[in-house]
């Protein structure tokens, strides 16, 4: 006598929930298509405009009168990104220490620091830049201020998360020995996260240099400002020069920060 072979479970059809989700997702995309006036036909019809643009833009104007100021402005952009990152370190560090369970002095400080970080993160750096331009006038200083504020929010949060990951044993050992919160942060928590902190710092520097470009477009100095100017004067050949310079800057920063991060990780 043979035992009956167990039947394989029948494959189920899509559930009602799956159907609803599919309909909703498709519907939302149709609405988004209309809201953005998405239209490939318009793009095709506009080819002549694009051709005109490229005819004026190419070849780029690589003469010294354009390239010189372009490189100088690119260096200003780099400096905005650098200062915006470096000067946010103390604020990000203090807020991160308050916003990580390993180091926070209490629930109240933890919640307050988390809320402040969320706020700084939620306000885009361009908005901060517009605010500071009205306060300190057009120019790179407004860009630096904007980056300090926004980057404090992002980097503080990333650093706090890095500290949430670590083993709390070394901190507990020092707490038993009578170390204060600040002492155990300095001697147990922070030493364990130095490589992560440096990696995140370099990553933010990389992002901030690119942001400071956009900040220039709203008047906060650097090469973004030049790009904005050349568009207004219809000097597209100069604009392409600026963009090429930006490309070199961004690739250089990206590659060197990636290289250093790899060295730290090993």
């Amino acid at each position: 006598m043979s035992t009956p072979r167990p039947a394989p479970p029948r494959r189920k059809g899509p559930s009602a929930l799956a159907t609803v989700i599919t309909v909703v997702v498709v519907g939302v995309h149709v609405l988004a298509w209309q809201a953005t006036e998405f239209s490939p036909a318009t793009l095709v019809q506009g080819w002549r405009g694009m051709a005109d643009f490229f005819a004026q833009a190419l070849p780029p104007d690589l003469s010294g009168e354009v390239l010189g100021p372009s490189v100088a402005a690119a260096l200003v952009t780099l400096c905005i990104g650098l200062l915006g990152t470096t000067l946010s370190i103390p604020f990000a560090l203090v807020l991160a220490l308050l916003a990580a369970r390993a180091t926070t002095p209490g629930v109240w400080a933890y919640q307050a620091a988390r809320s402040l970080l969320s706020f700084l993160r939620a306000v885009p750096d361009v908005v901060f830049a517009l605010v500071f331009v009205t306060a300190v006038g057009l120019g790179p200083f407004a860009g630096v201020l904007a980056l300090i504020f926004h980057n404090t929010g992002v980097m503080g949060k990333l650093w706090a998360e890095a500290m949430e990951e670590i083993d709390l044993g070394p901190r507990d050992a020092l707490t038993v020995a009578g170390a204060s919160k600040i002492q155990s942060a300095a001697h147990a928590v922070l030493p364990s996260v130095v490589p992560q902190f440096l990696g995140l710092l370099l990553y933010r520097f990389d992002v901030n240099v690119r942001s400071s470009l956009v900040l220039g477009l709203v008047g906060a100095g650097g090469i973004g400002f030049l790009i904005n100017q050349s568009i207004r004067l219809f000097r597209f050949d100069e604009m392409v020069t600026h963009i090429l310079v930006v490309l070199v800057l961004v690739i250089a920063v990206d590659q060197s920060s990636a290289y250093i991060r790899r060295r730290i990780a090993t």
Partner: protein, 229 residues
């Protein structure tokens, strides 16, 4: 001197420590034995202040020092800096915000402590580069640098090979006897307890059920037979 009386602790209604008593006198190594989950770590953590007991009394000279199975040194820092960190509780912030600020006499004291555990020659090396047994001895040196009179050790040798384990327990016994420290150590090796401990406290389900010199206990295995919940 460490005196624990009537210690109670439960987690979410589950009783982990049930009227737990323990006395460790200066100059004595007491081995705490018991099956997994009987509450040994919880008892030590309550004594050390890492957990708040629901009730009971803990009296001791000053702050205890704690030594862990996972060692818990800062691996990137030198052995010497790790030992100095034991003194944080008595240092003002201006002398303790970074290792470079540690006063000179503290460094000298820490070197003496490292020498006591036989590792003075490795003082400058990052703690993470030492072997497990050496790291545990650095952790014991940190406890000495804390000038603790009571040392609690939670399975200090469970991650070590037999010879390193023997060396570390021998060191704990020697410190208890020579320096008059009160040392309470959780051990999972009855043989080591027999060889080095002055007294054995056996724990079953959150309660001390045996308390005697090892020579007076015929069979330590009985603790494990009845202990499993």
């Amino acid at each position: 001197m460490l005196e624990v009386a009537g210690l109670r602790k439960s987690y979410a209604g589950r009783v982990v420590l049930d009227d737990f008593d323990l006395v460790v006198r200066p100059g004595e190594l007491v081995a705490l034995l018991g099956a997994n989950g009987c509450g040994k770590s919880t008892a030590l953590r309550c004594v050390a202040g890492l957990e708040t007991p629901d009730g009971g009394r803990v009296v001791m000279d000053g702050r205890p020092a704690m030594v862990f199975q996972q060692i818990h040194l800062v691996k990137r820092r030198s052995a010497l800096d790790n030992v100095c960190a034991g003194a944080l509780g008595r240092l003002p912030l201006r002398h303790s915000l970074a290792p470079v600020l540690f006063p000179r006499d503290l460094r000298e004291e820490a070197m003496t402590c490292l020498d006591r555990v036989g590792l003075a020659s490795r003082a400058g090396e990052p703690a993470g580069r030492l072997s497990g047994g050496q790291q545990q001895r650095v952790a014991i040196a940190r406890a000495l640098c804390q000038r603790a009179r009571v040392v609690l050790a939670d399975e200090p040798v469970s991650a070590l090979d037999p010879s390193a384990a023997d060396q570390v327990v021998a060191l704990l016994a020697d410190l208890a006897h020579a320096q008059h420290l009160a040392v309470g150590a959780v051990l999972h090796q009855p043989a080591l307890a027999r060889r080095y401990a002055d007294r054995v406290v056996g724990m079953v389900s959150g309660r001390a059920v045996v308390d005697a010199p090892p020579a007076d206990i015929a069979d330590l295995d009985v603790l494990y037979a009845t202990g499993t919940p």
